[in-house]
């Protein structure tokens, strides 16, 4: 969905996104003014930091974690306890702007503790340990209700705390600006970390731990440092979440949260710095909006993820980037039409598939399947033959054209040198 790289310039202009993005981000709440939209934007900021921190593990160091929410959630809980102390002291203490730092410190602390025994091996062992630790922490969150507040969670008030700049953080928009500031700080730091020798060593450890060891770096140490730092940024996101939502409960340390950050990061593309940014934004939006349009949102989510894993392991950003490189290298010459044809056929197929899924949900789930059902602007009867026939027809024709007409055509054009035509 993130499209269009045509706006790119030369490497000289590499710095401009760092200026333009915050400017656009600051302007957004003036375009979308409703409280819910501003909340959603704030959540995107939090999700972006969290996903970037996750990609420090998955993309940069090659560590697949199923329990990253542990650090996000624990950071959030510690920050929340401090916020409550500030509230109880009548609004005296640490300025609210610095609260995410508390979350980061907590994340770092727990990252060091759990990292000390998790990172000795990468791959499946690491994945399983994080799964186990995630399950343990989540279970304890319901047992130790002093710290975790039971399943009801903990509440605090962001506007009953001092502010560095005298800002009233009651209105969501002011909070959003704070989120933008922290998101930019975190993004810059994570980006710079990637460019340090540590970042390069992390890549080396990911690609070939033995060789990294020969060069004189202990892979375990490199993984450990990356893990602890990543946990710190996750904690930062958690601390920021405390400010945006003023509530923390066990779902923030839960496996679902860990799963979502994995999905978002991967869908965006783990090989690119902006991959997690795109993925986290998209997932946040889908999660909150798609569910009000269709019952089938989890299914779409899963199908999208599987499609990405199977056909575009570099994620959405990867698709765009590959096509952009192809285009720049002139590989589009003479076959642009075919590529667009494939894209359109694919979209048509997807449209048909969506129709089929929506029909099925109506047919199997609603108490009266024969009740009139509005599908893509048409009112249809899900118990009759026609809408099914048409929907399946569109899906089959669309995917059929893409796979058996468009793709072979493109392959013939290109010879066998590239398979970049998958849209």
């Amino acid at each position: 969905m993130a499209t269009n790289t045509a706006a790119g310039g030369s490497n000289l202009l590499k710095l401009w996104p760092w200026v333009v993005v915050p400017v656009v981000a600051v302007l957004l709440p003036f375009i979308f003014q409703s409280g819910h939209a501003v909340n959603l934007l704030s959540h995107m900021g939090v999700a972006i930091i969290f996903a970037l921190s996750y990609n420090m593990l998955l993309g940069n160091t090659g560590l697949l974690s199923f329990g990253h929410a542990v650090y996000y959630g624990l950071g959030a809980y510690v920050a929340m306890h401090l916020l409550r102390t500030i509230n109880d002291a009548g609004g005296e203490g640490l300025p609210i702007e610095l609260l995410p730092l508390v979350g980061a410190a907590a994340g770092l602390g727990f990252g060091i503790i759990f990292g000390s025994f998790s990172v000795r091996r990468a791959g499946v062992v690491f994945a399983m340990i994080t799964l186990g630790v995630g399950a343990l922490v989540h279970s304890s969150s319901l047992m130790f209700s002093d710290f975790f507040g039971g399943e009801a969670g903990l509440f605090g008030y962001r506007d009953e705390a001092p502010s560095l700049f005298g800002i009233d953080y009651g209105p969501g928009r002011n909070v959003y600006f704070l989120v933008v500031a922290w998101t930019m700080i975190a993004a810059v730091l994570i980006y710079l970390l990637k460019k340090t020798p540590l970042g390069w060593m992390a890549n080396a450890v990911r690609d070939n731990p033995e060789r990294a060891q020969f060069v004189g770096y202990n892979p375990t140490i490199v993984r450990f440092i990356q893990f602890a730092l990543s946990a710190a940024f996750a904690g930062l996101a958690g601390g920021l979440f405390v400010i945006t939502d003023e509530i923390v409960n066990d779902e923030s340390v839960g496996q679902i949260q860990s799963g979502i950050v994995l999905l978002g990061t991967y869908i965006g593309g783990i090989g690119y710095f902006i991959g997690p940014v795109v993925g986290a934004s998209l997932v946040t939006i889908l999660e909150s909006s798609l569910s009000s349009y269709t019952e089938a949102w989890v299914l779409y989510f899963g199908l999208l993820f599987i499609a990405i894993v199977m056909f575009a392991p570099m994620g959405l950003v990867g698709i765009v980037h590959t096509q952009y490189l192809n285009w720049k290298a002139g590989a589009w010459k003479g076959n642009t039409g075919i590529r667009i044809y494939i894209l359109l056929a694919g979209l048509l197929g997807m449209f048909g598939l969506v129709c089929v899924i929506e029909l099925s949900y109506h047919y199997f789930r609603s108490w009266d399947p024969s009740a009139p059902f509005v599908l893509m602007g048409f009112t249809v009867d899900a118990t009759s033959f026609l809408p099914w026939f048409v929907s399946f027809g569109i899906a089959i024709v669309g995917f059929g054209l893409m796979l058996f007409h468009g793709n072979p055509m493109l392959k013939r054009k290109l010879g066998d040198k590239s398979d970049g035509g998958k849209a």
Partner: protein
């Protein structure tokens, strides 16, 4: 790579927001809208769906009779996926869309988060207040230490149900040894703690021989727990379990051939009668504010018609939430007393202390803590009941009426009013 950053973020944002933001502002003479915030997808979707049908049906029936102040009632369904933080978002969305009333009931954790969200909004956003009508979340804290002027509970709180239950049990001679088995979260933990206190306070002639908490919605085989019940020699089991956790418990007790009576909150809850079936007959008790055969016993023909119409409309389920009837009619009375559906403070004041003639008797919205006080029914599963629940072949038969005085608990609420 970098230069994709802006376009990616920006396009993503635009697409999302154009999808997310479609707030329509209704004029004051449009329908009176109530946000229904419940799980409509995921494992609890069936519960959310059943509640939605109740609300939609009640709204429709009331609209046929002229709605409220001549305006229609419209139920706006919102899917909270059973998540507290998602529910907070949806409260915000309701406010954005100009909806003045939100209702929710499944999960006290969700309810707690929503009370906070509603309170916070009404404090920060004086022109756009919202009222929270709770039809099923039973955590006593919501009308005690965490009570709010903008929260009204139409179901009996957990401590009230337990009070009514223990008042019934203390007069039963065949109850000697009690085993408690509950879900390991605040709801179950509360029952386990409070029941022990009640036994002391009321001087009940019973012994608590076991008290077990099990993880919620994770136990698939209750045999180990059943063997503990057996070992303890209990003749009575008390459980606040709901859903699968209850049906599995009853089935395990039955298949092990254990001879105990089971006292529950939610024995008639959606799915449980169907899953338990005739094996619950004469052993599965529930404490509720109403059940279908009350209409037959007490001759509420009008309400019986309401019940039957609901059944015709939705053959798979039955009218179960009598409190939704109370809630909708009390809201109607309050709005009509105030004369508009916009002045939330006035409507809340009108609801406070309101007495309403329900089918089961007079119900009162206690002004001190916004907890409804109502008569309760102790009933037991019975295959001969006139109305079976959810086509299961088993219904409920009243074994005792519990008057309001026996179903009342003092509150510690220190209400802050505007």
């Amino acid at each position: 790579m970098l230069r994709n950053k802006k376009t990616g973020l920006f396009t993503g944002t635009m697409i999302g927001l154009s999808m997310a933001i479609s707030s329509i502002t209704y004029a004051q003479d449009g329908p009176i809208r109530i946000s229904y915030i419940e799980p409509l997808s995921g494992p609890f979707a069936n519960v959310g769906d059943a509640g939605l049908k109740h609300f939609r049906f009640a709204a429709e029936k009331m609209n046929e009779e002229g709605g409220i102040l001549g305006r229609d009632i419209e139920i706006v369904a919102m899917d909270n996926k059973q998540s507290p933080s998602e529910s907070v978002q949806l409260v915000q969305r309701s406010i954005d869309e100009g909806i003045k009333f939100v209702t929710q009931g499944n999960g006290s954790n969700v309810a707690g988060a929503m009370v906070e969200a509603v309170d916070r909004n009404n404090r920060r956003n004086e022109d756009n207040k919202v009222l929270y009508l709770n039809y099923a979340a039973v955590d006593p804290a919501l009308t005690n230490e965490r009570c709010s002027f903008y929260h009204f509970r139409f179901d009996a709180a957990s401590d009230i149900k337990l009070e009514a239950l223990s008042n019934y049990m203390k007069d039963q001679d065949n109850i000697e040894k009690i085993f408690m088995i509950n879900q390991d979260y605040s709801h179950g933990q509360f029952i386990s703690k409070r029941m022990k206190e009640l036994v002391e306070e009321k001087g009940m002639d019973v012994e608590i021989v076991g008290d077990v908490l099990h993880p919620i919605a994770q136990v698939r085989d209750f045999s180990p727990y059943v063997s503990r019940i057996k070992n303890s020699g209990a003749d009575t089991v008390i459980s606040g379990n709901w859903g699968n956790d209850l049906s599995l418990l009853v089935r395990a007790i039955d298949s092990a051939g254990l001879d105990v009576n089971i006292y529950t909150y939610y024995g008639g809850g959606l799915g449980t009668p169907a899953s338990v079936g005739p094996r619950g007959e004469d052993i599965l008790y529930q404490i509720t504010e109403w059940h279908a055969d009350v209409n037959v016993d007490e001759g509420h023909t009008e309400y019986e018609k309401w019940f039957q119409e609901f059944k015709e409309r939705y053959p798979e389920i039955d009218w179960y939430y009598h409190r939704i009837y109370n809630q909708m009619h009390m809201l109607k009375a309050a709005i009509e007393e105030v004369g508009n559906a916009e002045d939330i403070d006035a409507i809340a004041y009108a609801l406070e202390g309101m007495e309403f003639e329900s089918q089961t008797g007079t119900v009162t919205m206690r002004a001190d803590d916004h907890q409804i006080l109502q008569p309760m029914y102790m009933s037991v599963m019975d295959t001969d009941a006139k109305y079976d629940a959810d086509n299961s072949g088993v219904g409920f038969r009243t074994v005792a009426n519990i008057p309001v005085e026996q179903a009342t608990v003092d509150t510690t609420c220190d209400m802050r009013r505007p």
